[in-house]
Subunit: 402 residues, 2 copies
């Protein structure tokens, strides 16, 4: 069986994701699609609007055959780290392709750009350092340094669009680690990644859909951007849990932790550096809401996304020793599968059986222990009985599409 | 001016407290009453049903002239420690008497019992050790050892009633520290300290009043046990905050902290010993509610009260180094006063001016910093804007009765 691998967050699964899935299968002629998905917290340091079980069901209903969890320690990371860990996981899953959407739509510039950057690494580093010294954030400084190089090499990739950047990191991870998985890119259509407003056609960004849902919007208002099955799963989730998960709901936990923990202890948190702990404590003292707080602490250097990731580490209590140096997966955790997905897992067993996690409750892998913690944090905004219910769910079997 | 000192929690201020106040003033013929009051968390490790500012107002309206805060580190403690710190604070406040309610009603047995226990200390310690080895909690073992001594000295105090115990600790603290304050006891009337049901007359225990309010009860149902002013202050509080503070509301914070902190870190918490951290984590994993949790962790040795105090330390992040060895107050913090109370403060200034805390925001006393943390914990169950409002209140002037 030939497998097309996708790196996904599905927050929530919408028509744009459906398009990407269908195009990936059509282009590669793969027998099935395998998704590596972030769990309850996402790459940009946000709680998923609905938990990973609901998002797994949306993916399966839409035609993804197998969903495997990208562990928290790999998922809630800057793009480069996230992309490399995801591709390494798809490689262990013996996928033939990784298919990613991009603004570019053609794979060759990704390959060429990797080679050119490799060749001009010193040029990039020196320029990036220069731009950081001027006060730019790391991603911004890298982008500016890149622009300098592209000036003399115009056929290089346009890297100011988020999906081109992610795609470039997938390709880099493959070339750097000499993986056998092949990169494929699908031209994106419809809305941009960050577009916050709802468009007229049937493809809206997940950002715009979430924004609508979590402000005064109703699910019906975004129905036309969602497959029917996503709509129903979201509807059931909201009926059961009576909420969408947003940062604002977790704010009391963040605030109380900042106001009851010593700066020295806060410094143990991963990525808490350069005196950020004092900055956060001081802002927490004067902020009523998460929005107030973020507006007080964000700067060019401490971007919104970087701060969100930091606050996620704070809540899940991620210290430096939680983060593995080696990005290779230590286990494969299946969140859900279709019948075809089940056959594929069977076919993996011969070579990858030792990695397949069958009884999470019996494992003592420290990376999996963090999954349990993050599930608890994600569920902590639910009423007590539902929280307990979700907590137990963590040890139960994958979602199975009949 | 002659001052009668009272050690109080007023959770909430009810007719029994009014009786005690009136009798104390009548008996001593004092010019005013000075209350040393626990702040937002109480001796038995409970969040106060309404915060210390509302409780201060109730006390002033009822006729207490001056309310001074018993710091968290002294208040949330076993009876012996609590009582000694409170009496030391009343001594610094130059009170002439400490007036406590007791089942006994006569001061002489308290004095005699102190002398007898001093004389027979070895007897008590050996017997208490024996009873603890049999699996009894420390207070229970002390009570049994005491019973053995009383067997041969029948005129000793009956120490199986909570107010006799507290009173005994006040008297002990005075005699041990050779204080000039005089102990006075007022015979209690009406309900027992722990009586959980509402009686027919107008005096109910604070426990019964809280139980009624925090179950399905309405404030009107307990109105007959409260002075009119207490009723109004409670009513205003509930209207503004839309809640009474109960442990069940703080449960999400307790649960999340237990499930995201390593056992090694939990061991840093004051009074977390003998492997309790693992017992708490394990119970938190399987408990939906605070009640479930407490029923799972309590034993004869780890009594409900001891566990509540421990969970309070957990939330306020009280480590061993937070607890001063010396029980003498490092400052006097006035929470509220009447006009007579103001005159009394003026009269204190000559000798005790250095202890009077006038600008809490400018102080860096570590004991006061804990007061701020505990105020944040207490307010953390309120909606974000109200929490912020209460947090600011901590740095504002005392309550003044016009």
């Amino acid at each position: 069986m030939k497998a097309a691998g996708l790196v996904v967050e599905y927050n929530p699964f919408h028509n744009g994701h459906q398009y990407h899935l269908d195009q990936s299968l059509a282009y590669t002629k793969a027998d099935l699609a395998v998704g590596v998905m972030s769990g309850n917290f996402l790459q940009r340091g946000e709680p998923a609007i609905v938990n990973k079980w609901a998002r797994t069901r949306m993916a399966l209903e839409a035609g993804v055959d197998l969903i495997v969890e990208l562990p928290f320690v790999h998922a809630v990371q800057k793009a480069e780290y996230f992309a490399e860990a995801a591709v390494l996981l798809l490689e262990e899953l013996q996928c033939d392709w990784v298919c990613f959407g991009s603004e570019q739509g053609n794979i060759q510039p990704f390959m060429d750009t990797y080679d050119l950057l490799d060749e001009h690494a010193d040029f990039i580093n020196n320029h990036a350092k220069h731009f950081m010294d001027e006060g730019h954030s790391y991603p911004k400084a890298m982008a500016l340094a890149y622009g300098e190089l592209k000036h003399t090499h115009p056929h290089m990739l346009t890297l100011d669009q988020p999906n081109n950047i992610l795609g470039f990191h997938y390709v880099s991870a493959i070339l750097k680690n000499k993986l056998s998985i092949q990169p494929v890119t699908i031209q994106r259509t419809g809305s941009g990644y960050h577009d916050a407003d709802l468009p007229k056609n049937s493809i809206a960004s997940a950002t715009a859909i979430r924004k609508e849902l979590t402000s005064e919007g109703r699910l019906e208002d975004v129905a036309r951007f969602l497959p029917r099955t996503s709509y129903e799963i979201l509807s059931d989730y909201h009926e059961e849990m009576n909420t969408w998960h947003t940062w604002e709901m977790y704010w009391p936990y963040v605030k109380l932790k900042l106001l009851t923990t010593s700066p020295d202890r806060l410094k143990d948190i991963y990525e808490m550096k350069e005196g950020l702990e004092n900055r956060l404590i001081s802002a927490a003292q004067t902020s009523a809401t998460f929005l107030d707080f973020m507006n007080k602490v964000k700067t060019k250097r401490y971007t919104w996304t970087r701060l969100q990731r930091l606050l996620t580490y704070l809540l899940v209590n991620i210290t430096n020793d939680c983060i593995p140096q080696d990005l290779k997966p230590t286990y494969i955790r299946v969140l859900g599968f279709s019948q075809k997905g089940r056959e594929y897992i069977q076919s993996l067993k011969k070579e990858k059986g030792h990695l397949l996690l069958t009884r999470p409750a019996a494992s003592n892998d420290p990376i999996l222990a963090i999954e349990q913690r993050s599930a608890n944090v994600h569920a902590s905004v639910l009423p007590p009985e539902l929280w307990q219910h979700v907590q137990k769910r963590e040890y139960q079997p994958p979602v199975i599409l009949p």
